[in-house]
Amino acid sequence: MRVTPSMQDRNFLENINRTKTRLDKAQEQITTGKRVNRFSDDPFAASQSNRIAALTSTNDQFIANNELLRGKLELTDSTLQSLIQTMDSARTAAAQALSGTTTPESRAALAESVGSARAEALSSANAKFNGLYLFAGTQSTDPPFVDSGGSVSYMGNDDPVYMRLDAATVMKTNLTNSDVFAGPPAMFDTLDALKTAIQNNDTAGIRARLGDLETLSDGLNTADTIVGGNLQLVDQVQKALKDHNNALQSESSRLTDADLVKAISDMNLANDAVSVSLRSQAQTQNLSLIDMMG
């Protein structure tokens, strides 16, 4: 075979370029920490990793939403708890009124305590989370329970408010008048009637209202159980979302991260190859018979 200088030069250039491309790739992987730096490096892995980024971003939004929702459900829970206590204190007053040893003065004091239970209940019924009224349905910008002329009327609606917890789960996140207060028996009417019955020493009336209060307490406990269940569900979903994101993260790493050990050893190999071939080229370049001629 005839070997010409231009052939040697071309082969040398071609080889050194190929090795330098490898060196360049390895260096890029080491500096970016990524094996895939553009779509053409691995079209499948690159597009998969973008899809994963979209999923992760959606999950992050769900996680942020669920944190807020958790706050709302916790407030609903504690509001229901305080309503249950309020009902208990009204029941205590009713029981005392039925004890048979009451005087007009003590009845007035008991009626007063039922009155403050009603005020507490009204305040709980108008509880706000994040600027929105908890029990107003979707009319959540205005106080839902308005005390006018001695009776409480409901200005909200019974519309549900849903939130999406994750791709699969949608939850009704609110309780409204019909779930908690409207009855029958209606909470505020019961308290008003109890107060009147105590004032009038109407034992039959008091006894009837006592029964109503128990029904109301049962209802509140049931609602609180549902809220507690919802809280648990939110926690479960949160954990699942975080696990999912971790899995997505490691899948994305698997797809696109550089194997640093391999990249560094590739770089060293390529580096050695470059320096050896440069040295050999410098030694042999255009070595020919011409050099030997005297």
Partner: protein, 463 residues
């Protein structure tokens, strides 16, 4: 011419011939790095003998011609590989630009789309919140900018390719003219019976350069001229060459390649020009159309759900505004992608609810849900799927053109090496020739010296 003068003549011819051979060798050595140079050899031949009483005796040496070592088959293969390399290298360069438009970074259309739908999900937490409503508007504006930018960058890439088409066509015309001129010179030179080696080398270089620009076919006619055709049209034949011309047409006003009144744009498949046309007329329009389809679908689906809801005006508007400015069709949708200015100016126009109650988040949830629904490609792809598919398509196109470029470069190097084996200058070989012809020259000089002494001797006899 027998006798001493005959021998003297043989010596003279030998001197001249070895000197010529040394000249050919030195020409080879000096062209060792000249691209396209084919090494030359002086063809040495015995001169005609003279009759003597002892029979015919030779009269020395002569150089009959100088021939170049070349393999036309290899040159033709090289030309065809150069055409493919020219095309693929061009496509790879442009696709690298396209890749950067839809980069892997966190700032593309895909990311903006995720953040846009997330902003509705966030608004569902509190549909009455002004900051969250502004968040929706800002995410939507960002999405619009991403669509507008991406489509603008794609058209810029097309425009750049179109400008490069003009340069390529000019170069093709110059090279055609050059080859036609060389055809004439070669024909004239060879009509006188000598090989036009250097002119042929120059013409081959011009043909290779032309190959890197367009898909051409060439053949050598019996009179030594090249006929070159491209896309079924003759570009060069003998001293004649046909100029390609350009005319702007189509909706984008791109340059079409015309020859003899015929539009051959679609038939040019190879070389740099073929690559440019593929990028401009086929690859980028595909991506552009993917992007437009996505934009149109996002606008249509979001508007449909949005207009099914109620805004936060008091009382809620009778007719809910469209969220994005509606577009007439798919073409140009990414460019026209914009948030309805009325909605952008007053975020209370964002329809988060469906009942008109301020705390109703049903529509915000429905809008956020659009992100995961399969609304594209006949209900088989979500928006994210569509972007992913588009990115995979660009990546695959870029990858395969990179591989093609690498492969063709390797084949090109191989062929160039094969060509060098035949046509390249080997300095070792030339050094041997140098010594050979030097020795022969010295011997011939010695011969003349001897004849000179003999002649002296003859003259001395008479004294």
């Amino acid at each position: 011419m027998p006798g001493l003068t005959g021998i003297l003549d043989i010596g003279k011819q030998a001197l001249l011939t070895q000197q010529l051979a040394l000249q050919v060798t030195s020409n080879n050595i000096s062209n060792v790095n000249t691209p396209g140079y084919s090494r030359q050899r002086g063809a040495l031949q015995e001169r005609l003998p003279v009759q003597t009483e002892a029979g015919p005796i030779g009269t020395g040496v002569q150089m009959t011609s100088v021939e170049a070592a070349r393999d036309q088959f290899l040159e033709a293969r090289l030309s065809s590989v150069i055409q493919t390399t020219g095309k693929e290298a061009t496509v790879t360069g442009y696709l690298n630009q396209v890749q950067s438009v839809f980069g892997l970074s966190q700032a593309g259309v895909g990311d903006a789309l995720s953040r846009f739908f997330n902003s509705f999900s966030s608004l569902a937490n509190d549909p009455t919140s002004a900051p969250l409503r502004y968040g929706v508007i800002s995410a939507a504006k960002n999405l619009a900018v991403m669509f507008n930018d991406a489509t603008k960058q794609l058209s810029d890439i097309q425009q750049n390719a179109d400008t490069a088409v003009i340069d390529s066509v000019n170069q093709i015309n110059n090279l055609s003219a050059k080859i036609a001129a060389l055809n004439v010179q070669i024909n004239n030179t060879e009509a006188a019976g000598v090989h036009a080696n250097d002119l042929r080398d120059q013409r081959m270089e011009a043909v290779k350069e032309l190959s890197s620009l367009a898909d051409i076919h060439y053949y050598e006619t019996s009179d030594g001229t090249f006929s070159i055709s491209s896309a079924g049209t003759t570009l060069v034949t003998a001293d004649f060459h046909e100029n390609l011309s350009l005319t702007r047409s189509g909706p984008m006003g791109f340059n079409q390649v015309i020859v003899n009144g015929r539009d051959i744009t679609a038939s040019i498949q190879n070389g740099r020009l073929g690559g440019l046309l593929q990028v401009r007329d086929s690859l980028v329009p595909n991506y552009q159309s993917d992007l437009d389809t996505l934009a149109e679908s996002v606008i249509g689906e979001v508007n449909a759900v949005h207009q099914g809801g109620k805004d936060l005006q008091s009382p809620p508007s009778a007719a809910t505004l469209s969220f994005f400015t509606p577009v007439a069709g798919v073409a140009g949708a990414a460019q026209a992608f914009a948030v309805n200015p009325a909605v952008a100016a007053d975020p209370r126009f964002v329809a988060a609810g469906q009942s008109g109650a301020p705390g109703d988040n049903a529509n915000a949830l429905a809008l956020a849900d659009l992100a995961s629904q399969r609304l594209m490609a006949s209900g088989t792809q979500s928006f994210t799927d569509a972007i992913t598919a588009m990115q995979a398509r660009i990546g695959t196109d870029a990858r395969s053109s990179e591989i093609e470029t690498d492969t063709n470069n390797a084949i090109k190097t191989q062929l160039e090496n094969s060509r060098d084996q035949i046509s390249g200058v080997s300095l070792d070989e030339e050094a041997i020739d140098l010594m050979r012809f030097q020795k022969a020259y010295q011997a011939a000089a010695k011969l003349i010296n001897v004849v000179n002494q003999l002649m002296d001797d003859v003259l001395n006899i008479a004294r």
